[in-house]
Point group: C2
Chain length 104, copies 2
DNA sequence: CTAAGGTGCAACCCTGTGGTTGCAGTAACC
DNA sequence: GGTTACTGCAACCACAGGGTTGCACCTTAG
């Protein structure tokens, strides 16, 4: 099982700002500068967070001329869900169903 | 939405040692000293981790005379899964199914 | 009662990392 | 071509937190 993969995802999702960035990018793709415009932190801070999410495989970057758009690639979330379903499935019936619903 | 709840869970699961402790406690409940026996860290370090997991709602402690047993309570994992399904559901069909399968 | 083993608390390092500022590079618009 | 605007890199600061040790407390075992 891709356990370290799940670890990277959990690490990325552990930060509130990164979760906010993810949901915001879920609304629609954007550049680091655009995102920083509506947030209380600098563009470079945003860039660092986006890089973390990128390394976790949760984003993909797409160069468009002079600016870089980021969009969500949620596949790694499945690994994280699998991990949780594995640990908790024996106790919680709802989580047990998740394992089944994650089939091929 | 229990968004901060999910945050606590992600924060707890972000640490590899804590994930290992969780899986180990999933195998069967144990005390901090027992857990520390099979790990390369001190009992107090284990206790700190267990406390984190406890505050995230992922464990419950049960005093038995002079020692304290910890057991897994995986309900909060559902919140984390909900959060992920919400963010990623629009792109990934498997995650979309998770939202549905989490119903009451 | 005394000794032993388990827990809890506190103080203390030290690394990781979220945040900042500053500057260089580079693509686009006039 | 020159200016403007976005990205990328590097140095730096400050705090959180994972880890340690040491000691006090308390419950069980002999």
């Amino acid at each position: 099982m891709s356990d370290d993969r799940a670890g990277a995802v959990f690490g990325a999702l552990a930060d509130p700002m990164r979760r906010q960035l993810l949901t915001q990018l879920a609304a629609h793709p954007a550049t680091a500068t655009e995102l920083a415009g509506g947030l209380p932190i600098s563009r470079q801070a945003v860039a660092k967070h986006l890089n973390s999410l990128l390394e976790a495989g949760l984003l993909e970057r797409e160069r468009a001329g002079r600016d870089v758009r980021y969009r969500v690639t949620p596949e790694p979330l499945s690994d994280a869900v699998s991990w949780m379903a594995e640990v908790g499935g024996q106790w919680d019936e709802r989580l047990a169903r998740l394992s089944r619903s994650l089939g091929p």
